[in-house]
């Protein structure tokens, strides 16, 4: 974009600048003693010029929004056509309480639902399972059967609102429950939209909510791709996630690389099943973290789009442009929130959210200020939602697409992150793919090392966290902490007992038996069997138990 001569001139002049003006300045005022490295440990230069992005080809590297390689955005109009979905992750206690929170958020302007489930539900245990002791409703809503699901979405128009469910090992089951709720209300599956996270690879790498070993888990996931493609065309059957990988301590580059590589593995798995890539790829979605280093995050999102488009088109031969789109949801980084001076978190979240918007996210969750301590209170979650609304309506950043495109720094970073990601791809390829790499403990070790390095930097005050290792104050914390209704668990347990009593238990037994048999046959798609179990009010724990019996449980390698 800049001709060779012009670039040479710029380089020359920059050298001169360094030897004269800069020198003089440094002599009077040396640079501060700080890291000047970003969170992926890349050194950041004092200044970026066109010379830092030699051979920059606008049409090749950026192009136009809505066209390959989509670096600037996957839609031609982006936020001028439609704002990102404001989708606040929520859930706690019993289905009744969470239903109330959903309605509160919708009333206050959120445009999509996002469900958090409690740990027993995430692992496929019913509330009354001994493994679930003490965990009811603590970090999400408890769902043990279809009856809870029906209450959870009571009064919510499933044909008008899309729902994202953060659920992984039992994702197919929770999805089946949602589908049956819609079915019972007479809403055709072709009209409902939403997402199930359903990304088991990152569970092995980071979030650790795995249950079954890799092979049967992948089979279940491809079953959902297949089923969704045929019967629930508006549903994103997977949200390939980097958020949790980042939260576990990964750098931005690692988040980018591991997430995209996981994506490649899912595409391969779908193709191996015999599906045409364009049948299911348009419904693959992503989920990234929006962390503190503002420009690095924006570059990360742009690099992600470019890499995915390239690989989908060139490596996997996808022909439908919608298969090349990297559509993503973003959540601001939970791990950056501090318990000390929680109001500061409002500021952090605002900046992180801005990065996500400038990075072109399709959907956004902003954390509440009290989340380093507890579940978000109504006030805190409202502020978080307002943060998005203020960005959307008051800052003007939505008036143009990819406003930072062309910034020497941002384009340099985008390229650099792309290169670094490909290096990781090569390493993992050499190991035999992501599952092999996980068995070897590679991504886990990278993450543990990065997490330790980060903590050391903070301990040694090389990296400042305001309110924590600098600008501290002794004041007690007076944030209202949201409490769950103590009656909620009792109500839930009663409902669970009633369901078990009143359902046709013989029918349940038969459905579970059929599920178990189908699970043993790799050629069977399990969705229809799960749906039958759900309709008969088999509980989550019962269905997962049947699957555990067939698939076994995963034991992770020990990486510290």
């Amino acid at each position: 974009m800049f001709d060779k001569e012009a670039l040479e001139k710029i380089k020359e002049r920059q050298e001169q600048w360094e030897e004269t003006t800069l020198q003089q300045w440094l002599a009077r005022l040396p640079e501060r003693d700080e890291l000047f490295r970003n969170l992926s440990d890349m050194p950041i230069a004092r200044l970026y010029t066109p010379a830092d992005i030699p051979d920059f080809d606008y049409l090749e590297e950026l192009g136009f929004p809505g066209e390959y390689p989509f670096t600037r955005g996957i839609h031609a109009t982006m936020y001028r056509g439609r704002l990102w979905t404001m989708r606040m992750f929520s859930g706690y206690g019993s289905a009744e309480e969470t239903n109330e929170r959903f309605k509160y958020l919708l009333k206050h302007g959120e445009t999509g639902l996002s469900v958090a489930f409690d740990t027993p539900t995430l692992y496929g245990y019913d509330t009354d399972d001994p493994m679930a002791e003490g965990e009811f409703g603590k970090c999400g809503v408890a769902v043990s059967s279809l009856a809870d699901m029906e209450i959870l979405f009571d009064g919510i128009p499933l044909d008008k609102v899309t729902t994202s469910m953060t659920i992984n090992a039992p994702a197919a089951i929770l999805w089946a429950m949602y589908l049956v709720v819609a079915e019972k209300r007479g809403i055709p599956w072709t009209k409902i939209g939403g997402t199930i996270q359903n990304d088991i690879l990152k569970e092995y790498i980071a979030q650790k909510e795995f249950v079954f070993p890799p092979k049967p888990s992948m089979r279940l996931i491809v079953d959902t791709f297949e089923f969704g493609a045929k019967y629930v065309p508006k549903w994103n059957t997977i949200s390939i996630s980097g958020y949790h990988i980042r939260e576990a301590g990964a750098t931005a580059v690692q988040e980018l690389a591991f997430t995209l590589y996981d994506g490649f593995e899912y595409v391969k798995a779908g193709i191996e099943r015999g599906l045409d890539v364009d049948e299911f790829a348009p419904r693959l979605s992503f989920f990234f973290n929006a962390h503190n280093d503002f420009f690095e995050e924006i570059a990360k999102f742009r690099a992600a789009r470019r890499i995915w488009a390239r690989e989908m088109r060139n490596r996997f031969g996808a022909k439908d442009p919608r298969s090349w789109w990297l559509r993503f949801h973003t959540q601001t980084a939970g791990c950056t929130l501090t318990a000390q001076q929680p109001e500061n978190n409002i500021v952090r979240v605002a900046i992180q959210a801005l990065a996500a918007v400038l990075g072109g996210t399709q959907s956004l969750h902003t954390n509440s200020m009290d989340e380093a301590l507890a579940l978000p209170s109504e006030l805190a979650v409202r502020i978080a939602l307002r943060t998005q609304q203020i960005i959307a309506h008051e800052t003007g950043v939505v008036n143009t697409i990819d406003p930072l495109g062309g910034s020497y720094y941002v384009e340099y970073l985008t390229r650099k992150m792309e290169e670094a990601a490909y290096e990781y791809f090569r390493k993992i390829d050499a190991m035999g793919g992501m599952i092999a790499a996980i068995e070897k403990g590679f991504p886990q070790k990278e993450i543990a090392d990065a997490a330790y390095r980060y903590q050391k930097e903070i301990d040694e005050k090389k990296r400042i966290i305001v309110g924590v290792n600098e600008y501290v104050s002794d004041e007690p914390i007076t944030i209202p902490i949201h409490k769950i209704d103590p009656e909620g668990e009792r109500r839930h347990r009663e409902r669970l007992a009633r369901v078990r009593r009143e359902r046709d238990n013989e029918r349940v037994r038969q459905c579970l038996e059929r599920l178990r048999n189908a699970a043993q046959d790799e050629r069977e798609n399990l969705m229809p069997y799960i749906l039958d179990c759900v309709r008969a009010y088999a509980t989550l724990g019962e269905m997962m138990k049947a699957l555990r019996e067939v698939f076994g449980e995963y034991r992770e390698p020990i990486i510290i």
Partner: protein
């Protein structure tokens, strides 16, 4: 300078899978010369107490971010004491609201290290407290 090694059991009780902090603390303790028995995820209070007994640890460190701390932590301490492990220092970390800390301390958790605690703080606390406990046991 044969100071007795400090043995620490690090465990994550319950279903919480967020092990970033537990791993960072395990490494920091190792770097401070301690022996860390890392038992990882999905530990029940019974498993933790039995391991503490067999490993004859000086310290048990419990990491929990799921909110289930009031149900799981006091139970763990109780089981430790029932097994005769009265001198074992029990500390906790993770997401534990300030208002729950007094109750946990009453139940026998010596200290709660919330988000933002530096690893040096944890190392020094353990070193000092264990030395204190060892001294008082010798004198008893």
């Amino acid at each position: 300078m044969a100071e007795e090694k400090i043995r620490v059991l690090i465990a994550k009780p319950g279903l919480d899978g967020h092990d970033r902090g537990a791993k960072v603390v395990a490494r920091a303790l190792r770097d401070a010369g301690m022996e860390v028995i890392y038992t990882g995820l999905r530990q029940t209070p019974e498993m933790i107490a039995e391991a503490a007994l067999q490993e004859d640890v000086d310290v048990v460190g419990l990491s929990i971010l799921s909110g289930a701390h009031m149900a799981l932590l006091p139970k763990t301490v109780q089981l430790l004491r029932e097994k005769g492990l009265d001198h074992v220092l029990v500390v906790a970390g993770g997401i534990i609201p300030d208002e729950d800390v007094p109750k946990l301390k009453e139940a026998g958790i010596a200290e709660v290290f919330g988000p933002g605690t530096s690893t040096q703080t944890i190392v020094e606390y353990i070193r000092n407290k264990v030395a204190e406990i060892r001294r008082s046991r010798k004198n008893a």
